[in-house]
Symmetry: C2
Subunit: 591 residues, 2 copies
Amino acid sequence: MNRFIVMKESSTRLIHGFSYFQPSFRGDVRLFSHFAGNSELNSRKSMEGLVRCSANYVPLTPISFLERSAKVYSGRTSIVYGSVKYTWRETHERCIKLASALAQLGIRRGDVVATLAPNVPAMYELHFAVPMVGAVLCPLNTRYDPLTVVALLKHSEAKVIFLDYELLDVTNRALKLYAKTGKESPMLVLISEADGLSSVDYNSTAIEYESFVATGHNGFEIRRPESELDPISVNYTSGTTSEPKGVVYTHRGAFLNSLNTSFLHGSGLAPVYLWTVPMFHCNGWSFTWGIAAQGGANICLRKVSAKAIFDSIALHNVTHMGAAPIVLNMMANAPDIERKQLPHKVEVMIGGATPPHHIFDKLEKLGFGLTNFYGLTETYGPAAYCQWQPEWDLLTPDQRSKLKSRQGIHHCCVEDADVKDPATMESVKADGETIGEIMLRGNTVMGGYLKNLEATEEAFKDGWFRSGDVAVKHPDGYIEVKDRLKDIVISGGENISTIEVEAVLCGHPAVLEAAVVGRPDDHWGETPCAFVKLKQGFNANAEDILNFCRDNMARYMTPRTIVFDDLPKTSTGKVKKFILREKAKGLGSLS
Amino acid sequence: MNRFIVMKESSTRLIHGFSYFQPSFRGDVRLFSHFAGNSELNSRKSMEGLVRCSANYVPLTPISFLERSAKVYSGRTSIVYGSVKYTWRETHERCIKLASALAQLGIRRGDVVATLAPNVPAMYELHFAVPMVGAVLCPLNTRYDPLTVVALLKHSEAKVIFLDYELLDVTNRALKLYAKTGKESPMLVLISEADGLSSVDYNSTAIEYESFVATGHNGFEIRRPESELDPISVNYTSGTTSEPKGVVYTHRGAFLNSLNTSFLHGSGLAPVYLWTVPMFHCNGWSFTWGIAAQGGANICLRKVSAKAIFDSIALHNVTHMGAAPIVLNMMANAPDIERKQLPHKVEVMIGGATPPHHIFDKLEKLGFGLTNFYGLTETYGPAAYCQWQPEWDLLTPDQRSKLKSRQGIHHCCVEDADVKDPATMESVKADGETIGEIMLRGNTVMGGYLKNLEATEEAFKDGWFRSGDVAVKHPDGYIEVKDRLKDIVISGGENISTIEVEAVLCGHPAVLEAAVVGRPDDHWGETPCAFVKLKQGFNANAEDILNFCRDNMARYMTPRTIVFDDLPKTSTGKVKKFILREKAKGLGSLS
C-alpha cells in the first residue's frame, strides 16, 4: 500500500499511472548564476515531509471537467440538438463508450482521429472521447475541398475520420485521391442525424456513429495523459498566407485556456451556450471543454442562420454565445420576421475581427452584450479580451464604442502579451500610435506546428510567440490590432492599416465588403488598392467611393485604385489577400 | 540564439531559467500494462515539430497575477488601508523592492520568512515578495502565545520574522525564550502603521518595514520558481486535536486554487474585496493571490468590527468579502447605529461552518448574498462551494435555506471529492443519510506536512486526502458536513452529529454558544454532553434546555448532561473539544 513518492530525488518511477516527475522539493544545494540581480548565494534550502501522489497531483486535462460535471451536475442538460437532449451523466457515459470503441478499433496513444462535421453532438463528444483514449483530435474545416482534405489526412496521419453524412461526397472524392497514394486510407465512421432522421445511403464500408458508440463498454478505463504536455488536438490554420499548418494543443494548455476563457466570458452559473462558432475552429475557441467546466448546456446547430439563432435563444434561454463578425452581421441584418425578443441579456464573445460600429450598436440595442476577444489558432483561441472598465460607463456612446472596439488585455493564463518591434524586440510606447507586432508568452501558447520544426522555431524566435498581427498599445495597456503584418501597406514610408481603410469603405452605404492591398508604385513604393463588393441593388462608381474616402480618412491612406469585384475567401471566411495582391500587381505600377 | 528544446528526450538542461522537463512528446514506443480495460497494444504514436521554451511554458505561480495586474490594471487601486492607497503598479514595485531587500539580507531559495501581523498592507505585499525571492511565507496566527510562537519559529526554521508593532511584546517574550535554546534567533522587521502614525518605541535591533523596503532595488531580477511544485508557503493548522502541523503549499496549487476560487466567488470585473478573513488563515483562503488575478481592490482592516465592516462597505463600494461565522454574527447583531445601508448586493463567502438559519436570513434581508464554502488548511482553503441552482428559486424559503446550508460541490481544480467509508474506501450512498468521511484528490491539495512525513502519509493513505470531516452526500451530489470525525458521538450504536445538536441548542433564545462531546456511559457507550454558555442577561436552567432539546430533536440525540461554562477556544476561535471531552470524562459514567 505504499503509494507515496517522497520528494527527495528526481524519479521516473510509475505511480498511479503517472510516469514523470518534477524535481525534488529538497534538492541538493545548487548555484544559479543567472540571477544576476544580487550577489547572495542562491542555494536552495530544503524542505522535508512532502510527497507527491494521486492525492495531491493530477496532470491537468479537460477530461477532468467532464468527470466532475458528470458527478456534480449529473442530471443537468449537457447537449441539446433538435429533439436530442443529453444530461452530463449521459454525455460522460457516451464518451467513455466512444473511447472504448476507439480503443477496440486499435487506436493507440498519440494516434490522430480526424473529423469532418458541423456542430452536432458527435463533434462535442469526440472532444472528450478522443483524449480519453489517449489520442489526438484533428477537427477539419468542413469547407475544405477534397484536395485539402487528402493533404491534411496524410499530413496528420489520421487513423480514423468521423464524417458527417452531408459531407460524404467530399470525403469519398478525397478518399479516392488518397487511395491513389498507395497508403492505407483512414477508417470511416459516419455521423448520421442524431435523431435518426437522416436518410442518406451510407457507404457500405463505413460504420455508423451510434452503432459504433454502442460497441464500446461502460467500464472502459480511460487513458489519462501521462504528462499534461501530451498533445490533445491538432488544429490546422486556415492558410491565408501559406499552406495550412497543424497547430498542436496540449492537455495542460487546453485545461488552462478553457477554464480561464469560460470564466471570463460569463459567470460560473449554468450558462446556456449557443454554438455558432464551429467546433473545428480552435476547438470552438476552447469552449467545447470550457462549457463542461461550468456544467453549462451546449445548444448545437447544424446550420447557423439568423432565424436559428433567435429561435434557439428564445427556446433554450441562451445566456452566452460566441460569434464571428459574419454571424453578427447576419443577426443585425435579420428581417423582423426572423427576429425574436431576447428573454434577457445575451453575452456575445466576438472573435475574428471587430465589427463595424453600426453593427455593434444595433446588436446592443437588441439586448446583446458584446465583448471583443483576441486570439489565434496558436493561442487556443482567446488570449486577450476587451474587459469593460466601470469608469467607461460615464463616457459618451462614441467614446465607449471606440474603447470597446479594441482587443484589450491578456487573460490570467497568458503569461505576457506585448506589442514589440519585431526586429529589436523592444516594447513599443504605450501611446496608441506606435505600431509593432503582438507577441505572447505562456502556457496557452501551442506546443508547435506538427512536423514543421522550422516554422515552430520561427514562430517562437527570441522566446515569444510572434502573432503576425500589427497593433498599437494604448496608455491604459489595452492592445488594438491594426493589421496583419503581411497585409500592411507602406506608402512613402507611412504605415497604412488596411483594416482602418476597409472600415471606412464599409461605412459607405453601397459597400457590402472591401479589402485593401498594396499596389506597386514607382514613386510611393506602394499605394492602397481597394477591392470592393457592392450591396445588391446599390450603385456607386469609383469616383463616389474615392470622394467618400477623401472625406473620411487621412490623405495618405486614401486608396488610389478601386476595383469592383467579388472577394476570394478561405474556408474560414477570411479574405485571401495574397490573390488580391497578385491582381493588384497585375494592374502595373501606378505612378 | 537557439533557445529551443526540441521535445525528443527527457532533458534536464537549463533554459530561460527552467531546470526541469517533462518527457518527450515523441517518446519511444512504450507499453503500459496498467491499462487493463482493453487488450490493444497501448504504445505511443510520436509527434514531431513541437518544442518547449519560454514562449509556451512557464511554471504556474501566483507571482504572474501581480505582474499581469501591474501591466493591465496599472493605475487601478490595489490596496486601501485607512489613508494609505496603492495602485497595482505601485504594489508591484514595492514587492520587487521588498524581495530585493530580502535577498540582500541573505534570504535563499526555500528559506522561511515568518509573519506575525494583522491584515495590513505589509502582509499583502509579503504574500508576493517572499515568493519573488524564492522563499517560503509562514504567516503565524496573531493569537498565538509566546510558547507557540517559539515552537513554530523553531519548527519552520524561519530566518526573518515580520512583526506588527502591536505584537512586539509577545514576540519579545518569544524571542527571549528562543535565545535560551542557544540557536540563532530570526531577524526582526517591524511593521509600523503604514501611515507612519504609530508611536511605539521600536526595539532597537529591529529594522522598520518601510525603511527595509527602501533598501531594495527596483531592478531586482526576481527568483521565479524552478519548478511549479516548489513550496510557496507554510500554514500551521490551529491544532484542535494535536500539535499544529505545517501545511506546505506549492506555487502550482496556489495558482490553481486562487484563480479558481476568485472566479467562483465573483465576476472577473474589478471586485472590491473587504478583508475580514485573516491573511494568516490559508493565505486568506487563497484570496491574497486571487484578488491580484482579478485586479481587484484589497480593503484592509487592522481590526474587524461590525462598524468597520459597514463603514468600509459604504466608503469603498465593497462588492465581495469572506467571513467566518463569528464575523457574520457580529454583522447580524450590530446595533442600528453601526449599520449602514448597503450600496448594492455584497457577496459573502462563508467559511468555517454554516451559521444558524436566523443569521443567514437576517444578513440576506440586509442585502448580503451568502454562499457556503468548504475547505481546510490542507486544501488551500476553499475546495467546495454551495453553488446556487436556478431551480432553487422556486422553492420555499425554508427549503432554500436547507439547501444553502450545505457545503456543496468541489470546484474545477479539485480533481475529485467524495464521501467514503474510511475503512473500505467505498463511496457512501448519495442518500443524504449515510455518513462517511470527506476525501479529496487533486492539485489543490497540500504538498504535505513540514518535517512530518508520517502525518503526511497518514493523511494521504490510499491516494486520497482524508479530511477528518464526517458528512453525507445528497442525491444531487452536494456534500453536507455533519461533524469532525473525532467529535462524533456514538451512542448505542447510533452516530450523533454534535454539529446538529449544537445547532438546535443555539436555537434556544438564552443560548449564546454550545459545544457537545461524548460522556462515557456504561450502558450506551457514550451519551451527548452539552457545554453551554448563556447570553448576558438571560437565564435558563438545565431542565429548560433539556426540554427544548426533547422538543426539537430525535430522542437518541438529546444531551443527557448540560454543563454551563465558558468554551475553551483555539487561536482561530475553534472550540477545543479535547478539553471538554476531558471534563466530560471527569464527570464519570452516567448509567
